[in-house]
C-alpha cells in the first residue's frame, strides 16, 4: 500500500488510537482500586491531623479505626442524625445543595479519654478549592486543632494555610460568644487578632486565600450550630 496515501494515513491513525485507548483503559482499570485506597488513606491522615495525631500511610487506617472507627455520622441543619456515611460525603457536591445539605461529623476518642468533634470544611481560595478539618473540645465551642489543605494556592503566600504557623493559632479560639451566638472564627489582617478569642491572623500577601478560609469556616461551621448546641 502507498505509505504516503490518504487511506494508509487514516487507517494508521485509527488503528493507533484504538490500540492506545484499549491499553490506557486497561491500565486505568487495573490500578483504580489501589488509587482509591490512597485517596481514602490521605483523607484519614488529614482527619487525624486535626486532632494532633500524626500518622503515615502505613498506620493511618489502624489509628483511624482505633480513635474514630464507627463514630462518624451525618447530621442535617436541624441537628438531627440522618442516614448516610460521613466518610463518603462529597463536600464539593454538598456545598451546592443549600438547606438540605448533609453535614458529616466525626467523633474522635483520644488516648486521654476525651472526645473531640471533628468538622470537615471546604471553600474557595484564590485559585481553586481549599478544605480542612476543625476539631472542637467537649464544650463543642473551643477549637482543639485545625488543619487546612489547598489545590493550588500561591506558594509562600496563600499556600501557607497548610503550614503550622497559620494553623496553630486556631487552637483555643471559640466559635460561639458568651451568650451563645455563632461568631465563627474570623481571619483578620496579620497582627490584629491579639486578644480576640474569635479571630486569628491572616497571611500577609495571601489576603484572598485568608478571606477564603474565613468564608469557608463561617459557611461550613454555621450548619452545625443546632447540632452543637443540643
Amino acid at each position: 500500500m502507498d505509505r504516503q496515501g490518504n487511506t494508509y494515513t487514516f487507517l494508521y491513525a485509527s488503528v493507533m488510537v484504538i490500540v492506545v485507548a484499549a491499553l490506557l483503559a486497561f491500565v486505568s482499570e487495573s490500578l483504580k482500586d489501589q488509587q482509591n485506597k490512597n485517596v481514602e488513606v490521605a483523607k484519614k491522615i488529614d482527619i487525624l491531623k486535626s486532632v494532633n495525631i500524626a500518622s503515615s500511610a502505613s498506620d493511618a487506617e489502624a489509628l483511624y479505626e482505633k480513635h474514630i472507627g464507627a463514630n462518624a455520622f451525618v447530621v442535617n441543619l436541624k441537628g438531627d442524625k440522618v442516614d448516610g456515611d460521613a466518610f463518603t460525603v462529597d463536600m464539593a457536591k454538598e456545598l451546592k445543595k443549600g438547606a438540605d445539605r448533609a453535614y458529616p461529623m466525626y467523633i474522635c476518642k483520644l488516648d486521654d479519654g476525651t472526645s473531640k468533634y471533628i468538622i470537615p470544611v471546604r471553600g474557595k481560595g484564590l485559585w481553586g478549592p481549599i478544605w480542612g478539618y476543625v476539631s472542637l473540645n467537649e464544650d463543642k465551642n473551643t477549637v482543639f486543632g485545625a488543619t487546612f489543605g489547598h489545590k493550588g494556592e500561591t506558594p509562600g503566600l496563600g499556600a501557607e494555610i497548610e503550614k503550622e504557623p497559620f494553623q496553630t493559632p486556631f487552637v483555643g479560639k471559640q466559635i460561639f460568644d458568651e451568650s451563645g451566638n455563632f461568631t465563627s472564627i474570623k481571619v483578620v489582617k496579620a497582627g490584629l487578632s491579639k486578644g480576640d478569642i474569635h479571630a486569628v491572623d491572616g497571611i500577609s500577601g495571601g489576603t484572598i486565600t485568608s478571606q477564603g478560609v474565613r468564608a469557608m469556616l463561617e459557611d461550613c461551621l454555621k450548619g452545625y450550630e443546632n447540632y452543637l448546641k443540643n
Binding site: Q4, Y12, V20, L23, V27, G156
Partner: protein, 222 residues
C-alpha cells in the same frame, strides 16, 4: 538487521549514554526541559522520581517510535509521536498515583507536563525516527539520565540550603543541618528561604553551566 555483528555495548553505543550526561546534556547544553527542572527541584525526592519518570518515557517512546519508524506516514508523524508520548505519560501518572501517592501529589501537574517536555519530542525527531531500536533505547537512557542528573544536583543544593534536610525515597526526610545550629535553638544558622523559590533553581543551573563550561573549553562559543 544488517549490523548485528556490532556488539550491544560498543564504544559507539556507549557514547549514546555518556554524551548526554556531560557534553551534550539536554538541560545545561541544549537548554531543553528547563521548566520542569525549576518546578520540581525544591526537594530531592520529587526530583529523583521525576528523573526516573522522564527516563522511562524517553526510553520507551524512543523504542516504540524506532520500531514504527518505517511505517509512520510522514504527514502525521508528529501526531503519532505525541500519542505515544501521551500514552506513556498517562501510564506513569497512573502508576505513581497508585504506588507513590505522596510524591505524585507533590509532582501534581508536572507529571502530565512531561508530554510537553522538549527533550522527549526532540529525541524522537532527532534520533528515534532515523535509528534502530537498540541505539534509540540507549539514547533514551542517556538523555533521561542526563536530565535526571541535573534535577538531582539542583534539588540537592536547594533542599540542603533551603530546608536543611534531604528527602530520599524510602528513607523519608533526613535532617542534615544539626538542629542545635538553628537560631531558634540558640545557634547561628538559618535556612535560606530564597533557595526554595523557583528563581534559585535557575541560578543553580546557571552556576552548573558556568562550572561545566569553564572545565570543558570545547563548550565555549567563540
Amino acid at each position: 538487521m544488517s549490523s548485528e555483528k556490532e556488539p550491544l555495548f560498543s564504544a559507539k553505543n556507549l557514547k549514546l549514554i555518556t554524551t548526554p550526561l556531560g557534553a551534550q546534556n539536554p538541560i545545561t547544553i541544549q537548554v531543553l526541559g528547563i521548566c520542569s527542572a525549576l518546578a520540581v527541584t525544591a526537594k530531592l525526592e520529587p526530583a529523583i522520581v521525576m528523573g526516573i519518570s522522564v527516563t522511562f518515557v524517553t526510553v520507551f517512546s524512543n523504542l516504540v517510535i524506532s520500531l514504527l519508524r518505517n511505517t509512520i506516514p510522514s504527514r502525521i508523524r508528529i501526531i503519532v509521536q505525541l500519542v505515544v508520548v501521551a500514552a506513556l505519560v498517562i501510564i506513569v501518572d497512573q502508576v505513581l498515583k497508585a504506588f507513590a501517592y505522596e510524591v505524585s501529589k507533590q509532582l501534581s501537574v508536572f507529571v502530565g507536563l512531561i508530554i510537553t517536555n522538549c527533550i522527549i519530542m526532540g529525541r524522537l525527531e532527532a534520533f528515534a525516527l532515523g535509528n534502530k531500536p537498540w541505539p534509540s533505547v540507549l539514547d533514551g537512557v542517556g538523555n533521561g539520565a542526563g536530565y535526571g542528573l541535573i534535577l538531582i544536583i539542583v534539588a540537592f543544593f536547594r533542599e540542603l540550603f533551603g530546608s536543611g534536610t534531604l528527602t530520599l525515597p524510602g528513607l523519608g526526610t533526613l535532617q542534615i543541618v544539626p538542629e542545635s545550629w538553628y537560631i531558634a535553638n540558640g545557634g547561628f544558622y538559618s535556612n535560606n528561604g530564597f533557595m526554595i523559590l523557583p528563581p534559585m533553581a535557575l541560578i543553580v543551573v546557571g552556576i552548573y553551566i558556568w562550572v561545566q563550561r569553564s572545565r570543558n573549553k570545547d563548550l565555549i562559543e567563540s
